[in-house]
């Protein structure tokens, strides 16, 4: 037995990467695993269909200026595009995010991860990066590409100079929407070993808060209660970021505060749940 072992095991004398990069290993492994799934690729392709529609719209307006009257290309177009992509943010969150930590909990993988030289925050950062990568690919990337297409089709920077705030607004709106979705989904994923249960919880929270808003609006007759809805708060912030008239009476700062609280609570849940040992009281 030992003769065979001597041929196959030896001490390692090579280089080691500096510490602090383990999150990139986790992130790339997760991204590769997702890209290997045909169902997921189909979902990502679907998420780019609105981009194609908007691209055709921009092309049509550039070629036929009279179309501008009923298909205007302005800051609102990009705002609507960012909001439309919210549907795909939801589905990508469900597909990618629900199992990110839940599967590791089910397979007792946390003790394997955390016995390696990485901090818990690195593990969380790696998992979060997977979700952020795909969510930004479905929101920020096509939105910025639409701007690039507009400039390319029109052959001038006129639109860009006239709407200087659009690019920062797109970036800010996408980043806020994506971070809120990703962090809350990751926190939910750390609460259960079942991906289905996580998906149901996430769906429930989104729809329940929306339904609450509907009921409270009906009862009070005011949209001041939009702060109870996660999507309502996101839309409220997006209006402010794109400098559009607010569609809800809820102050923008209240929406910002509610979303910030959601992120803080989610991070707190992650801090408690992502541990090398599960302490049962």
């Amino acid at each position: 037995m030992s003769e065979i072992h001597d041929q196959t095991y030896r001490r390692y004398a090579g280089n080691r990467e500096p510490m602090g990069r383990a999150w990139t290993v986790i992130a790339w492994a997760g991204i590769r695993a997702m890209l290997a799934r045909k169902m997921f690729l189909a979902l990502m392709l679907l998420a780019w269909i609105p981009f194609l529609v908007r691209a055709v719209q921009i092309y049509a307006v550039t070629m036929w200026p009279q179309a501008r009257d009923f298909l205007p290309v302005n800051a609102q177009l990009f705002q609507r595009f960012v909001e439309q992509q919210g549907t795909f943010v939801f589905f990508i969150c469900i597909y990618v995010g629900s199992g990110l930590i839940a599967n590791d909990l089910r397979a007792n993988a946390l003790q394997i991860y955390l016995s390696k030289p990485l901090f818990r925050m690195e593990y969380i950062a790696g998992k979060l990066s997977i979700l952020l990568f795909f969510l930004l690919e479905a929101t920020l990337l096509p939105a910025l590409m639409l701007i690039a297409l507009q400039i390319a089709f029109s052959g001038s920077l006129e639109f860009f100079w006239n709407n200087l705030s659009v690019i920062p607004a797109i970036v800010l709106a996408c980043v806020i929407r994506v971070i809120v979705a990703a962090v809350s989904m990751l926190a939910l994923s750390s609460l259960s070993k079942s991906t289905r249960y996580v998906a149901v919880m996430y769906t429930g929270i989104i729809f329940f808060t929306e339904a609450m808003y509907g009921v409270l609006t009906f009862v009070t007759g005011s949209t001041r209660v939009a702060w109870v809805s996660i999507t309502g708060n996101l839309d409220n912030l997006t209006d402010a970021i794109f400098r559009q008239p607010a569609r809800y009476e809820t102050p923008m700062l209240v929406s910002l505060l509610v979303l910030a609280c959601l992120v803080v609570v989610s991070l707190s849940v992650l801090e408690r749940r992502v541990r090398g040992v599960e302490v049962v009281s």
Partner: protein, 311 residues
């Protein structure tokens, strides 16, 4: 390298109101050290504290000369941990899983993959390395846990119940691997187990934990003591009276799984015949018949029984 791999200095660890380790001070020498104790003695807690998973409520933990509280990543970079429970990364085949673990431990991608193949052959999973880990049998899962623990070439290996759930053949092979790592490959290891033969087969030193405290420690040979001072005894009659007389005479009696008890005779080494005669005299005073009396070799089980005061 220092002569000790792990040092615990007045360490206490608690889970809420339950104290798992109570003011434990111990020095684990380099080489293969067995961490023995009954279930719930605090073995796994000690290993998890050394990994930095559970911060101690008091005391100081040192691994390979590094303070665990100050430099947890440096400690874990030099450690390999084979957990007691099943553990794997979902959706990966064995070679991807082990290479991934090596990358997490800091090995470059190419080196990680090469090491993964090597260690999988080493642990006997070479032919099954492209199978999804979730399809592995219990024995194979134990082996892959060992593979992920050694892939980054740790200086110190923590093995928590490495033979759990393995069949006799698999168990022997696992113990052979552990023995080979410790004695031929120069890897220091701490083997936590409640299976005394596992520890006796692979380790040179042993530390016995009981109820969160160190019950005894030392080299196995020293703890076993000289041969001929342990006897197997079976008596018929008033057992309670016999045990009382034996205890009064300073002899310890421990029950075994069979119907014989093991008797420890303290004091300087005399002839086995003298000790046997004393036992017969005590039996006569107690009014019991001696049905079986035989000199025996001390085993680790005797050490364990004496350390935790098992009656």
């Amino acid at each position: 390298m220092s002569a000790s791999s792990v040092v615990l200095d007045h360490v206490s660890v608690a889970y809420g109101a339950n104290t798992a380790l109570r003011d434990v001070s111990a020095v684990f020498p380099t080489g293969a050290v067995g961490l023995l104790g009954p279930n719930g003695a605090g073995k796994s807690t000690m290993l998890k504290s050394l990994l930095g998973f559970i911060p101690p409520t008091a005391g100081r933990l040192e691994v390979l000369g590094l303070n665990v509280a100050d430099r947890p990543l440096d400690v874990r970079a030099r450690l390999g941990y084979m957990p007691e429970n099943d553990g794997h990364i979902p959706g990966m085949n064995a070679v991807t899983f082990v290479a991934y673990c090596a990358q997490l431990a800091g090995l470059p991608k190419a080196d990680a993959m090469q090491r993964a193949h090597e260690v999988l052959y080493y642990v006997g999973l070479g032919e099954a390395r492209y199978r999804n880990v979730e399809t592995y049998s219990t024995g194979m899962k134990q082996r892959i846990k060992l593979a992920q623990a050694i892939v980054h070439d740790p200086d110190l290996l923590f093995l928590d119940e490495p033979t759990n759930g393995m069949d006799p053949k698999g168990r022997d092979e696992m113990l052979a691997l552990v023995h080979d790592l410790a004695h031929n490959k120069g890897v220091n290891l701490i083997l936590s187990s409640h299976l005394l033969p596992d520890v006796e087969h692979t380790c040179d030193h042993v530390i016995v934990l009981d109820k969160g405290k160190i019950a005894t420690s030392g080299t196995i040979d020293a703890l076993k003591g000289p041969a001929g001072r342990v006897f197997e005894v079976r008596v018929k009659g008033d057992l309670a009276s016999f045990l009382k007389h034996m205890s009064d005479a300073g002899m310890e009696c421990h029950e075994t799984d069979e119907d014989v008890m093991r008797v420890f005779v303290p004091g300087p080494i005399g002839s086995a015949g003298d000790d046997q005669r004393r036992i017969c005299e005590i039996a006569q005073q107690s009014g019991v018949q001696v049905r079986h009396l035989k000199a025996s070799l001390p085993t680790l089980e005797d050490v364990f029984a004496r350390a935790i005061g098992e009656q």
